[in-house]
């Protein structure tokens, strides 16, 4: 995806009151962190897209990143598995650690990193391959399986976990692109979990889906949270409220407020958070 395009059409409506401070409101730490970001800065050329973001991502939690367009939530999400590496003008500073190891350390190979930190995108993007091969692709290239029988098992497990097995078990050899939008997105989730990641990043995973397909994905997120850490970026505040246990609010590249979702949606502490979730941005 062309990130520069996203950055250019931003901040048309966002206000910059004096209340945009560097200090994040709420507790950015958790007892049992899976990943930790410390003083993360992201630059696109001269543009300072993420400013001094510090936050822990807890083990087996669903954390939602919300905020107006161009607030940096997707950019920050992409830092967590070095997706921004693909953009030449993008520079990331600060530290993002996983199990106390900096994922930006030169010794880190991004391929296994992205197996540990998987990603699901806005538009379902199955490979132009069969349903089976879509799921089998990751375990094959990462050498996670030794036999066809083992691979069959991983494919079945992943599709079952993604709530798709019953719908596709009789047509595994058919193209993944032939499925409905919601099914394709669940296929992408099955593909992501087939390599047993620890963290799954979801960048607006339901924005192209109808409400029923959305409800299925949300239910799936809830089920998967017992095994995986899930970070979801969403434009739908009600979705953030429904699926996440913690919510982080971004504004103009800064992390304004973090807190338990129940608290953020009933008693946010920061004016900007309040304005955004009550629909007062103008």
């Amino acid at each position: 995806m062309d990130m520069t395009a996203t950055m250019n059409d931003t901040q048309i409506s966002a206000k910059e009151p004096s209340s945009v401070t560097n200090q994040t409101v709420g507790d950015v730490t958790v007892e049992n962190p899976r990943m930790q970001a410390k003083n993360v800065q992201v630059f696109y050329g001269d543009k300072h897209a993420i400013q001094d973001v510090t936050i822990d991502i807890g083990s087996n939690e669903v954390i939602a990143f919300i905020g107006p367009s161009g607030c940096g939530k997707s950019t920050f999400l992409r830092c967590l598995n070095r997706m921004n590496d693909t953009i030449d003008i993008c520079r990331v500073e600060g530290a993002i650690t996983m199990d106390n190891k900096d994922i930006y350390d030169p010794s880190v190979d991004v391929v296994p990193l992205r197996a540990r930190v998987g990603m699901v995108f806005q538009k379902p993007n199955p490979f132009p391959k069969s349903i089976y091969d879509n799921v089998a692709y990751g375990p094959r290239i990462h050498g996670l399986v030794e036999s066809k029988a083992e691979l069959d098992e991983v494919v079945e497990q992943s599709l079952t976990r993604a709530g798709l097995w019953e719908e596709v078990k009789d047509r595994l050899d058919q193209p993944g692109t032939g499925l409905s939008g919601g099914q394709q997105q669940r296929l992408c989730i099955a593909r992501a979990i087939a390599v047993s990641p620890e963290v799954i990043l979801m960048d607006e995973p339901c924005s192209a889906l109808d409400p029923i397909a959305t409800a299925r994905i949300e239910e799936l997120i809830h089920e998967l949270s017992d095994q995986f850490t899930i970070v979801i970026v969403t434009h739908s505040m009600q979705q953030a409220a429904r699926v996440s246990s913690r919510t982080a609010y971004f504004h103009l590249g800064k992390l304004i407020e973090v807190g338990p979702t129940k608290q953020i949606f009933t008693s946010p502490q920061h004016e900007l958070t309040q304005d955004y979730i009550t629909g007062r941005f103008g």
Partner: protein, 243 residues
């Protein structure tokens, strides 16, 4: 963060602003009617003239209709707007406030009716004066509770709770005085029992006014100040289903 009056009409959706404004206006109208009925009932009590009772009865019906109407508006806003944060708190607080207002209306009507019954055959003046004096305090308390709602003033709302405690104390001493009056003049017992019911109704109105102010504090500050004896961990245990 605290809610301010200006927060209610700054949504991108002008329709939502209008919905909330209309909700607030209706609650204020309803509160105005409750205040008026309480005042009129106290006029009957003080003057021992029952002329205002039909008006009180009429307004009481209107108060009931407002409760149903505001509840309907609340349900519609929740269903169509999915309010969050301060909006959600305001809407939830209002749904509870109208219930208390309606109860206050019932008690005010009860006072008007009992006072009218007494009008032909007044209780001893000293006892009657006690009830009029408590009535004035309660009317002032209600006015302050409604005022704090108008201004979204959590500090003033907090003072309502404090003032209600002195009303409760006065109510207790009035009850003691009433038993003395009954012993002194057993022939007046029938009238004094009616007056007792009036004291009771006044005390209940004070409690409802306190409830209104507690809801207002929740709407403004997001803090639930009901029941001083309930701890945060007790509430969490129930919410999280811990034994």
């Amino acid at each position: 963060m605290d809610l301010k009056s200006s927060d209610l009409n700054q949504h991108i959706s002008s329709q939502f602003n209008e919905d909330l404004e209309s909700l607030r206006t209706h609650v204020l109208k309803m509160a105005g009617m409750v205040e008026r009925n309480l005042r009129d009932s106290l006029v009957i009590l003080e003057s021992m003239e029952s002329g205002l009772l039909p008006t009180i009865e009429q307004v009481e019906h209107q108060i009931n209709a407002f409760e149903v109407a505001v509840d309907r508006e609340v349900i519609n806003i929740i269903a169509l707007r999915q309010p969050a944060a301060s909006d959600l708190r305001v809407v939830m607080a209002i749904s509870k406030i109208v219930r208390d207002l309606e109860r206050m209306g019932d008690e005010a009507y009860k006072i008007g009716k009992l006072a009218s019954d007494l009008a032909g055959d007044p209780p001893p003046a000293m006892a009657l004066n006690l009830s009029v004096s408590l009535g004035r305090q309660v009317a002032e308390l209600v006015k302050r509770a409604v005022d704090s709602f108008v201004r979204l003033d959590a500090e003033q709302a907090r003072e309502v709770g404090v003032a209600d405690r002195s009303i409760d104390a006065d109510y207790e001493s009035a009850l003691r005085a009433m038993s003395t009056f009954m012993i002194e003049d057993p022939r007046a017992i029938g009238r004094l029992v009616k007056l007792l019911w009036i004291f009771r109704a006044l005390e209940r109105i004070g409690d409802h006014a306190t409830n209104v102010s507690e809801q207002l504090i929740y709407a403004v500050r997001g803090k639930d100040v009901r029941h001083a004896d309930v701890t945060e961990s007790q509430v969490n245990d129930i919410v999280e289903d811990r034994e």
